[in-house]
Subunit: 414 residues, 2 copies
Amino acid sequence: MIDKIKEANKIAVERILKSKPVLVGIGRAIEVIPGMDDNTILHAGPPISWDRMCGPMKGAIAGALIYEGRAESYKDAVKLAESGEIKFEPCHHHSTVGPMTGVVSPSMPVFIIENETYGNRAFCTMNEGLGKVLRFGAYSEDVIERLKWMEKTLYPALKEALKIAKIDLKQIIAKALHMGDECHNRNVAATSLFLSEIISLLLCTTLEKKVINDVVRFIKGNPHFFLNLSMPTCKSMADQMAGIEYSTIVTAMARNGVEFGIRISSLGDEWFTAPAPMPKGLYFPGYSEKDANPDLGDSTITETAGLGGFAMAAAPAIVQFTGGSPKDALNATREMREITVTENPSFSIPMLDFRGTPTGIDLLKVVETGITPRINTGIAHKEPGIGQIGAGLVRAPMECFKKAIKRYVEKTGV
Amino acid sequence: MIDKIKEANKIAVERILKSKPVLVGIGRAIEVIPGMDDNTILHAGPPISWDRMCGPMKGAIAGALIYEGRAESYKDAVKLAESGEIKFEPCHHHSTVGPMTGVVSPSMPVFIIENETYGNRAFCTMNEGLGKVLRFGAYSEDVIERLKWMEKTLYPALKEALKIAKIDLKQIIAKALHMGDECHNRNVAATSLFLSEIISLLLCTTLEKKVINDVVRFIKGNPHFFLNLSMPTCKSMADQMAGIEYSTIVTAMARNGVEFGIRISSLGDEWFTAPAPMPKGLYFPGYSEKDANPDLGDSTITETAGLGGFAMAAAPAIVQFTGGSPKDALNATREMREITVTENPSFSIPMLDFRGTPTGIDLLKVVETGITPRINTGIAHKEPGIGQIGAGLVRAPMECFKKAIKRYVEKTGV
């Protein structure tokens, strides 16, 4: 039996190593995301009903309904959300991932990532920046205005550019790991490299220089821009690990701000959940842990694919943003080797003698060692309407893994 | 006396720490470099006459004379060089630095860096790329053509862009040190950050999109582009340390391919020289140490200002280009603390707990400890006309420091 598991896990991680994620285009959510319709709103994490959602998720959904022209105020939006007219579904159920609240509404433009090796696609909205932004639960006029600018200016420009050529995201991530990013909470280098690629394409379009410059300034002004490309890149790879009989590899980790959920390759679409933990981190001036919402977002797809907390050793500078020391960063990656089945040679870390990032979290190893996956994360205010208040570190709760192994035993009879 | 020296050295390094180097413009060498005229050609390192120059320097000078339209072939150029009509002078004598052969001829466009704190300027040509390029001694038709393209397209475009705004180079270097560069032999991040800055300016000019795209592609295609900005940045800072009575700080290290020379703050313009050492490194396919020219170039100005070999710990990925291990990279920076008088808080290294790069090489400490400055470098073929064949590591020869301390004792009577 152990051989069967090992073989299954080997197949799973080989798929991630062979993946070739590429940015192929950009489209409106309703037009490109499978199963999306006018009354669907996607959110981060495992399934959750409106009444159980956390503050920032309610805020972001209200914002999305205002953005869509379906509500005029938070109160209005809450009424509509409560009416049952809107379906709330996890991003993960639609080949999509979203940072923090992960809210995707029908008109929002989304990146289309194709895993060229296998042909599957993954989707993600565009990153708005830090602070008072929709994904952290803010919904004020300026938030909506920014989203409208992104829809009317940024989206059509990038769409034109991507008609000219695709962008190899695996290569950007590989380079960024040699440039101090871990591609979850630090995307400074990846954003800069992406900007170099997209600018060459933008300059080949018929767009006016003024428009191109607005786009350049927006991307340049947001060092987290690449997060929303890193995430669907990882989703397009991780999805290929799913559905392999006997495999104990974790194929998704995601949080809705109330629960943390994981999925296991051989256990289908089931989520194994536990209460979302509270991140430890650094807060923006004026905020503290008492303002913080529990852990939130699909961005843990990066850790699932061997980046983020698993690639911390590549990004010692991140500790200024998340807390901890550079030595902790090295040790975080080393520790994650204990619970993974391989290393990704395409994603190497110079400071660890160019060894690859630990890849393929093995449910069995997590339970055996008692070591849970390390995660870098942003921190949202627990009330709707405020936004990001910090960034920090957290671990996936052991309870998810315990529930999963119980089901695995039930299913396989081991 | 020791107090006088300490005080003098403190003043010297404070000047480097307070410096604010900014890219203010770009101009033709003859129009902006002080003391340049139609018959002057500048070269790297301490002074050297034509007959004693190494192969690559002769090749680069021949290339420059062809580029200037003063010769049609290498043979022609040699004849002119031998005639005595051309004056050969060190870049360093004209507030200028040049990588490898460092050749600057009158029509070449040069960056103008201003140290805003003190008002002094430094100059450097634009980087052509790797391999078969003038600065490594190549002079074939394609080399000259590229230089002409740089003069006719790249130069006027950048000139227009820089009329709109200056670019803060200290900030770019500070960021790049958090992104895996040491800003001598690895400038991947700094080049990407510079590109982000210049593109925003280019898009505000009246230049055609096609021209802007050609410029973007050229810069993007050459990860060493920023070297020729890092060097004059360092020159503009290091020059401020010169001429302080009693100071034993090294204000320049430079090689002409035959000799390695240093200058000391309190010892005026005198060069203290020793035979240029042979770098140890990694060679491009088909070449080996027997093809290599001894150490060459003014790029050691980066080490003089606390970057390059002194900031190795920031750039573990560089060992793929220069040889050595990531641990060696950490230790290189640690070792350089032994021979410097301060650390530069603006240039911090995450992996060393954000301590600043070792700054201000003290002649006394070098002689006392027997530890000589570490240098990252490119390797040129020893014959003219070939170009770069590798990159590696080298140390400044102790003999220079011994000569300098002898003169220091003579002068001060200590």
